[in-house]
């Protein structure tokens, strides 16, 4: 039986070492993500229309807006799943508008999806192990002639996966097939996948949808911990205003493909345009 350390907030390779908490200084820092006049249309439908904003490193930013505002399309553009028609996306100083998902990932960005799609016939642990990158065993030469090295790396990835499962409270489901997970558990598995690497930026597409309130509080704690301990920048699309209020220092509101507001959660709740377009009467 493999053993691994008790839960803490650092990656396994950093346990026991000194990890300096990142002190974000949003005002002085260069943005880690810039979206500049981005446009994306499908035939006659303009999903993203001259959208611009910046995200500072080590921050948690909420991206909210009415259904159909173009939030998920924008995440697809930032993460390389779709190409922009016009405009630029700059990630950590690199122009990434022309890159596919693999290229964007190598600049340190990972994402989750609104509808998680784990591989159903693999266990929860196997789904996570699959997320480990640069696996030497993927090369036939290594698999045949360097089994020791391959096995050692596999063990490290399994250790990492077990730590992540413990961290997101899915460890008791490690040997269950992903097909039996509930909607909320699939969301957690998605989040867990982002922790298998050391990303600079994580895009979360509705991490709270379908997640129980108690579990949601834990998810909020975990996201905040990852920002503090590892300096990860989060851009979160979410409709749950409890999650947005607790986590997001800055909130960007999109409507009809464009950014219509950037500011604090409190300021957003006082903005008449946002109230009319998005929040509705319960926030008046």
């Amino acid at each position: 039986m493999r053993t691994f350390g008790t839960r803490d907030m650092q990656y396994p390779s950093e346990r026991g070492g000194s990890v300096s908490a990142v002190e974000p200084s949003p005002l002085e820092a260069l943005p880690i993500l810039e979206v500049c006049n981005v446009r994306k249309a499908y035939g006659g439908l303009t999903a993203v229309n001259n959208c611009s904003f910046q995200v500072q490193p080590g921050t948690i930013t909420g991206l909210v807006g009415p259904n159909g505002a173009g939030k998920t399309t924008l995440l697809n553009l930032i993460s390389g799943f779709q190409r922009v028609d016009r405009g630029e996306i700059i990630l950590d100083g690199h122009q990434t508008s022309h890159l596919g998902p693999y290229g964007v990932f190598h600049h340190g960005l990972v994402r989750t999806f609104q509808i998680p799609r784990p591989i159903p016939n693999m266990t929860v642990l196997e789904n996570l192990v699959l997320a480990g990158t640069g696996q030497k065993g993927e090369r036939i030469w290594n698999a045949w002639f360097r089994p020791g090295i391959v096995g050692k790396q596999e063990n490290e990835i399994i250790d990492q996966a077990l730590w992540v499962l413990e961290y997101v409270d899915l460890i008791q489901l490690r040997d269950q097939y992903a097909s039996v997970l509930s909607g909320g558990q699939r969301k957690l598995l998605e989040f867990a996948r982002t922790l298998m690497e050391k990303p600079k930026v994580v895009l979360l597409d509705e991490p709270g949808a379908g997640v129980n309130r108690i579990l949601m509080r834990r998810l909020i704690e975990r996201i905040e911990e990852q920002r503090e301990q590892n300096g990860i920048t989060f851009l979160i699309v979410e409709h749950d205003m409890d999650l947005v209020a607790r986590l997001c220092g800055t909130v960007i509101v999109m409507s009809q493909g464009a950014s219509i507001f950037t500011g604090s959660f409190d300021a957003m709740c006082r903005d008449q345009v946002v109230l009319d377009a998005y929040l509705g009467s319960q926030y008046r």
Binding site: P66, G68, L181, S182, E206, R213, Y278
Partner: protein, 239 residues
């Protein structure tokens, strides 16, 4: 809130799950005519599994399901739909390559007549869909797809509408709209069974509620009692 009527759905000691994994370990619940009932509980409690089992999407290994006086245990989904049960899944809930109108037509596939009248009726209820009838459902946002799925489920005028996480992925404004619509539908005499993580909102419009945990009944009672219970707030409603 509408007056409720006779017993519509009665589920007793339901055991169900995926393959050999039993998620539900003997869950019982009922829904009366014109009643709104909400099921809440932690993730993995078996809430969605219960709905799928009651809609014929998962086998019922043990227990009985009685709908409007008829034993429907093990009945196929198609026959349950004809018996007046509608279901809106949490995800994958539209035919993404079909237009919104075609999705509605698919929802009314077994109607012998009045298809266009019924489409007009659901568009009155969801006017936002009227301008999107020709759009492919796969192009819609997650929230808009949810509205299409609810509208489609209403095409056959079900006696009982089961909604799995109706407010998930919806904006606060749209979420409010959906809960209002559920109340409107209920006032027309339709019963609704909700699985919902926004438990406060869902219980606020419900007559009764059930709490499931680890595939078993944990609490049940009038919705206002569950909402005001300290234990419920601490354990399931998030303080």
């Amino acid at each position: 809130m509408t007056e409720t009527g006779a017993r519509l759905l009665d589920a007793r000691e339901i055991v169900s799950g995926y393959g050999e994994v039993h998620i539900l370990k003997g869950v019982s619940m009922y829904v009366d005519a014109a009643e709104i009932v909400t099921i809440i509980g932690p993730n993995g409690a078996g809430k969605s599994t219960l709905m799928k089992a009651m809609f014929g999407l998962l086998p019922v290994h043990q227990g009985t399901l009685v709908l409007d006086g008829t034993d429907v245990t093990g009945m196929s989904t198609e026959r349950l739909v004809r018996h007046g049960v509608g279901y809106v899944p949490q995800t994958n809930n539209v035919f993404s390559t079909l237009t919104v109108r075609e999705n509605l037509e698919m929802g009314g596939y077994t109607r012998l007549d009045g298809l266009n009248d019924r489409i007009a009726w659901v568009l009155d209820l969801f006017p936002d869909l009227a301008s999107r009838l020709g759009e492919r459902a796969g192009r819609l946002s997650g929230g808009q797809r949810k509205l299409v799925a609810i509208a489609r489920a209403l095409m056959l005028e079900p006696k009982l509408l089961m909604l799995d996480e109706p407010s998930a992925s919806l904006s606060p404004q749209m979420s409010e709209v959906v809960f209002e619509k559920i109340c409107e539908i209920n006032q027309l005499g339709m019963a609704a069974l909700l699985v919902e993580q926004d438990a406060r909102h869902a219980l606020a419009i419900s007559h009764r509620g059930y709490v499931l945990a680890a595939g078993e009944n944990r609490f049940e009672g009038p919705a206002d009692m569950l909402l005001n219970s300290d234990d419920m707030r601490r354990l399931y409603l998030g303080g």
